[in-house]
Amino acid sequence: MARLSLAEPRFANPSVLLDTQRNFERLAISGILGAMPAAANNAPAIEFRNVSYDAGGREILASLNLEIARGETLILLGRSGSGKTTTLKLVNRLLEPSSGEILVNGVSNDVDIIHLRRGMGYVIQDVGLFPHLNVERNIGLVPKIEGWSAERIRARVQEMLQLVGLAPDIASRYPHQLSGGQRQRVGVARALAANPAILLMDEPFGALDPLTRDELQREFSALQRRLRKTVVFVTHDLREALRLGTRIALMESGKLISVASPADFLRSADPLVSAYVRAFGDGLESALDRSNYDRGTS
């Protein structure tokens, strides 16, 4: 508790802070999607302070310092085993840091883990839809646990389906009756259902065929332009990173190598960054162009 008030001196009493957060959520839920609640303070959405993570005596993540601003899409880029998924899971406390501190909206994220997680959408490569629940109940699960009325949940589910480009009648289907792309869309809809301000995505499009992936990347980009969520997005695909990210954080063996905007990333002189860029060969500018095209700025 002492740590809590240290982290955010303006709120001497932690319960005041929690109430404020709940109020924002209520606002966010009742408000229209595009209008995100005003920031409670000027703190970054997520901040890593000297965070390390060891597993079985092996250091997976070494003293990470990183700030993620509200409304940005930060890409965690890196090869397998570079620590990017670990970094993501530290945010919603699926993993506990060995040392250091992670702040969410300026508050240490070890206060109320369940409440913290319900305020963050989580999308993973394998989607993890509940196979025994139909699409409607998958999407509506967190709202239901949060005590929304059945009427409101139904309306929200339809709104979410529309948002991710699925037909309304898909609500009654079961996950095994969906294609991979549809499943991933439902996964995104489910993550957005309780209108979280933060979205954590772990290679969400990694298992899709190239055409579907392209489609989903384009739609996600458009969606993010409307919703302005704080997104942390894990991928090893540089093209995807260039297309979707506002900033790209390159990781290598548990260390953060560089954080840069997509354009700067391509021009970086850092040997590890340029090695990564070279590995993807020519034509990367086209991914950048695409990003501009997605955003309607070209």
Binding site: I124, G128, H132
Partner: protein, 210 residues
């Protein structure tokens, strides 16, 4: 046809003993579920308990049933009534399939589903009751099914310690060297086992997540 006539002639006794048999099997199965399912859930979540618990249940399974009935006979409260003793012994035998299937069922839940659920902010008990148990209910039931079929057979031996059930006919027939009497116990027991197998199998299919 002699057997059929014998059963018809003694139909009240056959029905009584069948009822007793059902009672023994039913109670022991319920007890075994009350103990076995929570134990199975526990060892699926706490890996360090899984080996000792499964080993214990396995060892119980290797004790010959007559010997187990014998061991339990001198136990104070239990030994007073044969049916208590029989129910305890049958419960112990039914534990292994129920514990093992509960463990297997919960372990078989897709890790991605659990990770997603946890990441969405489900509490551990919400995960258990809304995800893990609904997804493993058919595997758990198939363990119960095995346990019931085993129990119906084993319960015939309970007659040796005077707990009643269809074993009465079997032991009596053995003593009289009369196959009709043996079959008057064995046939209803087989029918019971088949019926229980079919009924639980049907339930298992109904509850299997699509």
């Amino acid at each position: 046809m002699n057997v059929a006539r014998y059963i018809l002639q003694n139909h009240t006794q056959v029905l009584d003993l069948t009822w007793e048999h059902l009672w023994l099997v039913g109670f022991s199965t319920i007890f075994a579920m009350l103990i076995g399912i929570p134990l199975g859930i526990l060892i699926a979540h706490r890996a360090r308990f899984s080996k000792p618990v499964l080993a214990g249940a396995n060892i119980i399974q290797t004790i010959p049933s007559l010997a187990l009935f014998g061991f339990l006979l001198p136990v104070p409260w239990l030994g007073d009534r044969a049916d208590r003793l029989a129910i305890l012994a049958l419960t112990l035998y039914a534990l292994l399939p129920i514990i093992r299937n509960t463990y297997t069922g919960i372990k078989g839940v897709d890790p991605a589903v659990l990770e997603a659920g946890r990441g969405m902010g489900l509490t551990e008990s919400q995960l258990l009751f809304q995800v893990e148990l609904p997804l493993s209910v058919s595997v758990i039931l198939s363990g119960v099914r095995v346990a019931v079929v085993i129990s119906v057979g084993l319960a015939t031996i309970a007659a040796a310690i005077g707990a009643g059930g269809l074993g009465e006919f079997i032991f009596r027939g053995l003593a009289m060297v009369d196959n009709r009497v043996i079959l008057a116990g064995a046939i209803p027991a087989a029918v019971l086992a088949l019926a229980a197998d079919l009924a639980i199998g049907w339930l298992e299919n109904r509850l299997r997540p699509s």
